[in-house]
Amino acid sequence: MAISILIVDDHAMIRALLTRHLHMEHDFVVVGEAEDGPEGISKAGALTPDVILMDVAMPGMSGIEATRLIHDRLPQIKVLMLTLYASNENCRRALQSGASGYLLKDSVDDEVVTAIRSVMKGGYFFGAGVANPLENPGLADNG
């Protein structure tokens, strides 16, 4: 059974290249793209994809905030965060928002397929260079 994917990123080129990259997997289907958080929320509701690849840093609403809103309404959708910032705090907050994984964009070519399959099995995925907040409770923010 195919895995439906929604890509939310403010960079069109990234969306296009990710789509092409995911099409190399026969069971992956990119069902839609969104260029910001609100559009991502809207399409998530309309398309109910299995997985959303969500950019963290976008103009206006951040990817984490969009994730929180999507997860509140559609908790079955797995959200994988994509970012250029290897921030533990971002990662922690993304998890708190309902994300299932956190990838750095410079490793997305190697890791995104594995990450999608991992979260589809119900697990979490943290890319290279990202500390797993679940394994490092000391990283939790108490402030």
């Binding site: 990234i14 290249l17 990710l18 410079d106 490793s107 923010d141």
Partner: protein, 734 residues
Amino acid sequence: MGKNRRPPPVSAALPSTPEELAPAETSRTFADSQLLIHELRVSALEMEMQMEELSRASEERIEAGNLLAKYCDFCKVPPAGVTGRELTGRKPVEEEPCSGSARLRLAYLAANAGAWEWNVRTGESVWSDEVWQVYGLTPGSCQPSYDAWLQTVQPEDRPTLEQNVLEAARTGGDIALEWRLLDAGGAERWLMSRGQPQRDDEGEIVSYLGITLDITARKLAELELLRHRDHLDVLVRERTAELERRNAQLAIEVEERKRSGELLRAYAAEVEDLYNNAPCGYHSLDARGVFLRINDTELGWLGYRREEVVGVMRLSDLVTAESAELLRVRFPEFVARPGQRCDLELEMVRKDGSRFPIIVDAVALRDTDGNYVMSRGTIFDNTERTKAAEERRSSEKRFRGIFENATIGIFHTDPDGRSVSRNPALVRMFGYQSAQQMDAAGDAAAQYFVHPEQRDSTRRAALQADGYLQREVEFRRLDGSHFTANYSLRAEEAAYGLFMEGFVEDITAHKESEKTLKRYASRLIVQEEEMRKRIAMELHDDVGQELTALSLNLAYIDNHLGGPTDRDLRPPLSDSRLLTKTIGRTVRNLMADLHPTQLDEYGLASAIRSYVDHYAQRAGVAMSVQVSTGFPRLKPLQEMALFRITQEALNNSAKHAAATKVSVELNSDVSSVCLCITDDGKGFVPQNEVPRPAGYGWGLTIMRERAESAGGRFSLYTVPGAGTSIVVEIKGAF
């Protein structure tokens, strides 16, 4: 002890001449020794004379006995006193051989001797009357015989006598005996016998014919002689030991005298050396001013030889004309008046004509009548002092020039602030036209000594300060306007008492410039942050996305390479993908350093925590973050300032302090927030004490500026070897 055994001459062990000895004690000891020697010699002579007399008496007695024996032998008659019976079987020469002639009896009597004959075959004897007398027996009181004779002998002498007699009889030799007996009065007497063997026709010994003499006198003389000799020996030994002791003592004293003499000579040489090579000159002048003595130091200064000066030149010959004139007046007074001391500053002239200033300090030596004998003068080269005085005058002139022309105000006051002197710059600084006007303004003069209310505390501080007390002070001018000044004050103890010296430097313009600079610095910081943020965003939006696109493209190409010719493309493609990731990480770190996006999104605590996490991994140093509950969001400028200070501090701890642990604390209360960064590194001496350590200088300055631009107060606590703490506190609005 015979005549040739005199004690060794004591004079051989004594010093050869009395002059070698020390004057008093040594002479006395020497005289004692000589007297002792003389006494010893007299005693020895007396004893020798007594001994000779005794010997002579004894020898005469023996000689008489011998003569008697010889006479008897010559006459072939038995000794006088023998009863005339035939004992030996030989024919008697006379019918009564022992009755002898009157002359022979006289000889017996003279020698205190008697004759006897002993028949060796029968043991019977014939004794003359003298023999009976000598033996202390009454004639006819017993049967004369060998045994009767032996009974008269002292028991302890008997074995020896018997042995001698038997030996003589066995060998046919003469009998020669000496023995003792006790007479009827119990006195011990010494007897001597000489006997010759009488033989029959066959040559066999029939009897012995002999005489017996009483040699008690001789024996006593001999004993007396021996006693005298022993006594003399003891005396000689005692006197010799005494002499040796005194001689050794004398030798020690002589050696000590010799050493004392050497020491005295050494001291004299030392005194002479001190005189000649003293650091000052010495000379003595007679009443005319002619040199009697002069030391090498002064001669060296002058360039003359001693013979050119002593007894030849006057002091006035060696000084300038002005000094000579001074001497002409002062020296006669010095010579004439007892108690007068000569203390003059003169100028001497060297042999080469050059001059040098001196100070001469002289006293006069006078005889018991107070008449001048000579002077004793000490001369000091006054060149350095004169030069120092000139330099002091020059320094004072220079100081006066600086004082009058300086652009900073300079003043001197008494400890109560009353003006002693003030320079024109100070007068102008306070808005007065002249020093007089300033002084006339009453307490205005004291104003520059600081405000009256602070005067006591300032004075105490200045008195306790090591060097100048330095403060920044706000002053009021004559027209009521104010100015800020760097104010330096110190207390100085002078010959005339304590005074205060101060400097006032108007830094109003400097302070204004400083404020302007701080404003510029704040603006620069803001602009820098804006610039950093813009660059970071551009990196994110452009470079970062493009690198992601490049990664995806390279992955796509990699996935679609399949043909045989594509095989060669895989290695460079793989390298390119790797390179892209490396560039991506670099850009990511660069973005984080340029602008922490979390600071905008989540605030200071989150940004610092995230930064510390990453930096600890990069630097390999254990770092921790503690944030108090409810730590607030601050103004962007404040958050950025504290974040940048944290970055700089962590960098210093890891790179310069060699710290192994760093803690970051963020605390807040209702009115303030506080950032405290502490490491366990090597610490350093703060820059206001020594030049700043490498890497710390500008970093600390910028941290301080950032803190102040954010309205905070920056504090640094560090001790070499004990780590460093940086504390930034921001109070008030945030």
